[in-house]
């Protein structure tokens, strides 16, 4: 604790003047709450950019033989859509929520390393701007978000776009690794008295598991990016088969990162849903231990299934069988979580506020996406639908239906804590239904298109293939999602203009972040709270019904 007390005294006198201006107070901040807000605002901004890319793609594909985008532009747009949504939206949005909430939820005054935390954010911002600057220097990356070599070698990708991609990925990787180390050490070190690991909020657990996944999986992407850069600059031949390289090396390295990455994207959303569903069901989480253990199981198994992204590369049968069976297995802990949420809702007093709607939407949509994943763990099915729109449907049910719906649930749930203001419920519900209906209109027909054989990443298609109507429906659905996002922006800005009248604990919640004021003071808690159960705030509000009393009884 002494380190935090000392840190203001260290700052330089000339820096102090700038740090007291409004802009300077944000740029110079090392406060976890402000850094969290910076992360979230940046990520939502990139979400709008990535969304505009998606609308452009849908406009191009609305009709056969369309000419909204050229083929070269289309390649850049879909690559930047994927890279943006994964590295610049879902990861930093989770990092932002984690930054803001982890110290509050464990009863701490800040992260373990506040300055490192600021460095993580600014590296993220720099890396993302560096990636986008490629548009000004001869074109953006255009080889898809997984940048398969040798397509990305200089022989096939002449401009500097892939150098931008690989360097940006390195910078973003360093940012995420530093942030992850901070989350892990914070959770180990700064828990309030009595906040044992068995009482840790599930959201904190999931952020920690995510951090471990990042720390162990990102090095593989780092290796891949550096080897690619070496190939492109000093002409090594890691991925050039004719010179003794191995094209599958890239795929192994990428997916050894890429599959844990899927869980890096989804586990924070699972954590959010695990916080929201109990509060809006007025019940403790059903099967806390099972939910945490299944998260750990996903974390471990997530490292052993990477080659199911490579079924079509001609692997030996024994490898196919192993990775297929393993991919079935990873469905089990995910199913455990879904049943735990259903069990929490069962018999509960349900309140269908906007955060709860998004959480239920997440459960429903992720279930569809998860089942799609199980289909593709069947090798012959995968061979049939690989690289088709079926895969695109799967990842969007998992990452848009799963991660984005979960993150919106979190934004609505914690917005009063961030700002002292409750978002408008009517607009929130309109947003939810627009996004839910739009999302199913866009992504459900992709299953059908995939089975009909429409390949992903084609910039146009001929008439009369039976694809026209589904593509048109998808484009209409995409604009319905856009209306939903527009409603969110209206709600967000309108709410910020209202006076901050929200109560400290507007949802009658269970965890420590609601114990302090909204927004919390600089040091979060005047007095570090003592914890005796999994629902410390519930215990305080209902002393006669406190969880620890019932456990003792």
């Amino acid at each position: 604790m002494t380190t935090h007390a000392q840190s203001p005294a260290i700052s330089l006198p000339e820096a102090r003047g700038f740090a007291h201006t409004h802009l300077g107070s944000w740029i110079m901040t090392v406060d976890h709450k402000r850094i969290g807000i910076l992360y979230m605002i940046t990520a939502v901004t990139y979400f709008l950019v990535g969304g505009i890319f998606a609308l452009l793609m849908r406009l191009q594909l609305a009709q056969p033989n369309n000419h909204v985008l050229s083929n070269a532009n289309y390649n850049q747009i879909f690559t930047m859509h994927g890279t943006t949504m994964i590295f610049l939206v879902v990861m930093p949005l989770s990092a932002g929520l984690g930054n803001y909430l982890v110290p509050l939820m464990i009863g701490a005054r800040d992260m373990a390393y506040p300055k490192l935390n600021a460095l993580s954010y600014w590296l993220f911002l720099f890396g993302s701007l560096f990636l986008y600057s490629s548009f000004a220097f001869g074109g953006a990356p255009d080889s898809g978000w997984f940048s398969y070599a040798p397509l990305t070698e200089r022989a096939f990708s002449h401009n500097h776009s892939m150098d931008f991609w690989a360097l940006a990925i390195l910078i973003l990787g360093i940012s995420t690794t530093l942030g992850s180390i901070n989350f892990i050490v914070t959770t180990i070190q700064l828990r309030a008295p009595g906040m044992t690991f068995r009482r840790l909020p599930v959201f904190v657990w999931m952020i920690c598991i995510t951090a471990f996944l990042a720390v162990f999986s990102l090095p593989s992407l780092t290796t891949a990016s550096i080897l690619l850069l070496l190939d492109r600059t000093i002409k090594t031949h890691f991925f050039v088969v004719s010179e003794g390289g191995n094209a599958l090396l890239w795929q192994h390295l990428f997916w050894f990162f890429g599959h844990p990455e899927v869980y890096i994207l989804i586990l924070p959303a699972f954590g959010i849903v695990s916080e929201i569903v109990p509060v809006f069901s007025s019940k403790p989480l059903f099967g806390y231990t099972a939910v945490v253990l299944s998260g750990l199981a996903i974390g471990v198994l997530g490292f052993t299934v990477w080659a199911h992204h490579m079924f079509a590369t001609g692997m030996p049968t024994v490898a196919l069988l192993f990775f297929s069976a393993d991919s079935f297995m990873i469905g089990v802990p995910t199913g455990v979580k879904i049943f735990a949420w259903l069990g929490t809702m069962y018999g509960g007093k349900l309140r269908f506020k906007t955060p709860m709607l998004f959480a239920i939407g997440e459960i429903a949509l992720f279930t569809i996406g998860g089942l799609d994943g199980i289909h593709m763990a069947v090798v012959p099915v995968d061979w049939q639908v690989t690289d088709s729109y079926y895969v695109v449907s799967h990842i969007h049910y998992v990452l848009f239906g799963g991660a984005i719906f979960g993150l919106f649930a979190g934004l609505y749930y914690w917005f009063p804590k961030f700002s002292g203001r409750l978002m408008d419920e009517t607009l929130g519900k309109w947003q939810f239904w627009a996004m839910f209906i739009g999302m199913n209109m866009v992504f459900f027909p992709m299953h059908i298109l995939g089975v009909l054989g429409m390949p992903r990443r084609i910039y146009t298609y001929g008439a009369g293939l039976g694809w026209d109507i589904w593509n048109l429906i998808e484009t209409i659905g995409a604009f319905i999602i856009a209306v939903g996002i527009l409603i969110f922006l209206i709600n967000f800005f309108a709410t910020l203009r209202k006076p901050p009248t929200a109560a400290d604990d507007p949802w009658d919640a269970f965890t420590l972040e609601w114990k302090t004021s909204s927004p919390p003071p600089d040091h979060n808690f005047a007095q570090i709270p003592a914890v005796r159960g999994r629902r410390p705030l519930w215990d305080e509000k209902h002393p006669e019904l406190a969880d620890w009393k019932l456990e003792e009884a």
Partner: protein
Amino acid sequence: MTSMATPAHQKQTLAAKATLGVVLASETALFGTLVMSYLLLRTGQAGWPYMHPSISRLALPVLNTSVLLLSAAMSWQSDRAIQSGKAGQLKAGLALACLLGLLFIAGQTFEFTRSGMRPDDPAFGGVFFALMGFHALHVLAGMVVLGLNLLRAQLGDFDQDRHTAVDMGTWFWYYVTAVWLVLFAVLYLI
């Protein structure tokens, strides 16, 4: 040990250990993927350099390895010295460890040029360069850490009770040495 170390200091030490542990775990994943890349590239090749190296071929790599091991021993010695409050021995140990690290880098550079390999040679040249280069960068990083500790020792920052940074630097140096032993086996022995 006489306990001038406050609970806050102990907590900081614990945080430093946890942080270093996570960093080294992540580094292990990095070198692990590099070694796996090496093995994957090698499976696709009929011939491979250094499959059955002669004693004379191994002389320089063994000498380099000995230099690094000696450096790790110096680092161990310096850490032990400060634990019993001998700041002079700490400084001598850190300086020697740094110098031997520099000698190791020079030896590795000589080894690479002597091999006649070029990074743009098919298969082996590139991965040989990448493995040795990644490791050399870590040795350089370790020398920066040891050098900073030497500077702080000169300023009198460390004593019997407060030397967490020395411990951390020493462990990082052990780790870099251990990684080289693995890479040595991968490159020259298996």
